[in-house]
């Protein structure tokens, strides 16, 4: 214990005595730790952003599409499938209603396309416009900032009403309410009856705020519903029994389609899990590649530490001899130099963590939508990594110092 306290005292005295040298050496570790922890933060952030995006899709909704969400090599097996049409939803809902104890709640038909929405001189292009029925209200995960979704009656009557996404409303009606105003969706007038709250983007690619929802009847009249882009969104009752629900949905859809037992499914059932399966290899790749590259930075830092510890041992050969003459054991000398290199690494690690923390804070203040998380776990990992770096880098020179022959060391000038 005594020995340890003493070693720390000596280490810090040495670091203080060689401020510039220690600072330059620590710089390598600082850069390494900043690189590694920033990488860790980024990987965390991707994971969290992904979870948030999945939550937007709703974790209790399955999607029935013509195409699966993953890429297919055998496109010819899919291209001739019949499109999903509104009648599929009606039939499916009847089957659900007739099935006692069904795991499925409701199926809603949705068809979507990109449009331009205008009001006076303002226009927003690339708006994701989808036509659906009033039952969509049971699937929608977002709340209304103002107004409401269209009713069953409005939906059936193909009333020209619409719900605007947050960004669309903001762009067309900056600083005022959009309610009851009339907008032109691809040239057709629609009355605004609702505006959604801000939701953010899915995987940073597709914005849920850049959308417009219109009654299916109106959509069918203006754009048609048989273009192959239709899908069924099916809400399930218990998200812990996804597998069962999927089985039931497959069976029900085959009945809707009137498929023979030998036929392969002519539809695809997609879930948000499919995204995860696709994204996992990507995040893993980023993690492995990124940590390897940033690890190199840390490795270079470690070589710097090793080098400076070798120099320090050489410079203090006579001091080591004196210490041994006065009764220092091998272990004491070993510990002294190990603690010195660990101390430099720890100081570097703390500075590095402070820099990473500062950068994360700055990023999260500048861009609040980015999921930047600087966790306690990361601090622990950072400190652990710096300590290990110090031990690995300091070990060889420290062992060399501890094994010096006191007679030779005392004679060293």
């Amino acid at each position: 214990m005594n020995e340890l306290v003493e070693s720390f005292r000596i280490a810090f005295a040495e670091i203080r005595a060689h401020k510039l040298r220690s600072a330059l050496t620590a710089l390598g570790v600082i850069i390494g730790i900043v690189a590694v922890t920033l990488m860790g933060t980024a990987i965390n952030g991707i994971g969290i952003g992904f979870q948030r995006s999945l939550a937007m899709l709703g974790d209790d909704v399955m999607y029935v599409n013509k195409w699966p969400w993953h890429n297919v090599d055998d496109w010819w097996n899919y291209v001739n499938r019949p499109p999903i049409v509104p009648e599929d939803a009606e039939k499916l809902n009847r089957i659900i209603a007739d099935t006692p104890g069904s795991q499925l709640d409701v199926a809603v038909f949705v068809n979507a396309r990109s449009t331009t929405v205008k009001v006076g001189g303002n226009s927003v292009s690339g708006v994701y416009t989808f036509g659906t029925t009033a039952e969509y209200g049971r699937i929608l995960t977002a709340d209304f900032k103002e107004g409401r979704l269209f009713s069953e009656t409005e939906s059936r009557a193909a009333r020209p009403v619409c719900v605007l996404g947050y960004d669309v409303a903001n762009a067309l009606f900056p600083g005022r309410s959009a309610l009851d105003a009339t907008v032109l969706v691809q040239g057709q007038p629609y009355r605004v009856i609702g505006v959604l709250v801000h939701q953010g983007a899915f995987l940073g690619l597709f914005s849920f705020d850049n959308q417009t929802i219109i009654p299916l009847g109106a959509y069918a009249k203006h754009f048609g519903t048989r273009d192959g882009n239709g899908e069924l969104q099916v809400k399930i009752r218990d998200k812990n029994r996804l597998g069962e629900a999927r089985e039931e949905l497959t069976g029900a859809m085959r009945r809707v389609r009137g498929q023979l037992p030998a036929d392969p499914d002519n539809f695809s059932i997609n879930e948000q899990q499919a995204f995860k399966a696709q994204l996992d290899p990507i995040t893993n790749g980023i993690a492995i590649g990124g940590l390897f590259i940033t690890g190199l930075a840390l490795f270079v830092g470690a070589i710097g530490i090793m080098n400076i510890t070798f120099v320090s041992v050489k410079e203090r050969t006579k001091e080591i001899g004196t210490r041994k003459a006065l009764g220092a054991r091998r272990r004491t000398i070993l510990l002294q130099f190990l603690i010195e290199s660990v101390s430099i690494c720890l100081v570097g690690g703390l500075v590095g963590l402070a820099i990473t923390g500062g950068l994360c804070l700055a990023v999260s203040l500048a861009m609040p939508s980015l999921p930047v998380v600087f966790s306690i776990g990361l601090v622990a990992v950072g400190l652990l990594v710096s300590t290990l770096t110090g031990i690995l880098a300091g070990f060889a020179p420290a062992v060399g110092a501890s094994r010096l022959d006191p007679v030779v060391a005392l004679r060293y000038e």
């Binding site: 005594n2 020995e3 003493e6 005295a13 040495e14 005595a17 006579k318 001091e319 001899g321 004196t322 210490r323 041994k324 003459a325 006065l326 009764g327 220092a328 054991r329 091998r330 272990r331 004491t332 006191p406 007679v407 005392l410």
Partner: protein, 250 residues
């Protein structure tokens, strides 16, 4: 500051200085040899040396360079072990001890005084004197008390917090002597203790040694200067790895 006022004259002529009755044997060396290998060549640094040193002796080891004087000193200081022969330190066989046991003997039984002082440059006098006690595992409070006491005994009570570069050569060597004393060792081993000092300061250090001897310490001084050897009560002369003469200083 008593020590600084002492001169050789004040110590009296060698013959008339007090000789303390020698105590039990501290160091017993019998037919010790030491071989070094330098490439293909084998160097016989010691060729069969036998020597007993008793408590309360004041011994000078003399000899020209190449006589084996440094090797013998390293051996006596337990910095090195003999190739053959017997070396007992207070009855314990040094030959065959491992590094840790040697370190412990050096720490508890031997006080070193070096020609170049060998103080830690960034530590003050007190910390330098504390060092052997740190390795001995003493608590900070006791360590400091004993280091203070040792510094006061060499007349540096008012220089405790000076760094070596703030002290004169003589003061530095006195810090080193205090460091050698602080563990209350069985022997104090000084290697050319005045070699880096001017003659006046050298005399002061030898006067300090005289006082340590009279206070009951066992001193071994390795030197090539007759003047320095004159302070001792017994002189061992080496030549070509053998003891040439071993007689009381008259």
């Amino acid at each position: 500051m008593e020590a600084e006022n002492l001169t050789v004259a004040a110590l009296g002529e060698p013959g008339r200085r007090p000789v303390l009755p020698p105590g039990p044997v501290v160091i017993a060396i019998e037919n010790v040899t030491k071989l070094y290998r330098m490439g293909d060549e084998t160097i016989h640094a010691l060729r069969g040396v036998s020597l007993d040193i008793r408590r309360n002796e004041y011994l000078a080891i003399m000899g020209p360079s190449g006589s084996g004087k440094s090797t013998l000193m390293n051996m006596l200081g337990c910095l090195d072990t003999p190739t053959s022969g017997r070396y007992d330190f207070t009855g314990r066989a040094v030959k065959g001890m491992d590094d840790n046991e040697l370190a412990e003997i050096r720490n508890r039984e031997i006080g070193f005084v070096f020609q170049t002082f060998n103080l830690l440059p960034r530590s003050d006098a007190l910390r330098n004197v504390e060092l052997p006690l740190i390795y001995a595992g003493l608590r900070p409070a006791e360590r400091q008390a004993r280091a203070r006491e040792a510094l006061e005994s060499v007349g540096l009570g008012d220089r405790m917090h000076h760094k070596p570069n703030e002290l004169s050569g003589g003061q530095r060597q006195r810090v080193a002597v205090a460091r050698a004393l602080v563990n209350r060792p069985s022997i104090i081993l000084a290697d050319e203790p005045t070699g880096n000092l001017d003659s006046k300061t050298g005399v002061e250090i030898m006067a300090l040694f005289e006082r340590l001897y009279e206070a009951g310490n066992t001193l071994i001084v390795v030197t090539h200067e007759e003047d320095v050897a004159h302070y001792a009560r017994r002189v061992v002369r080496l030549r070509d790895g053998r003891i040439e003469s071993d007689q009381p200083m008259s």
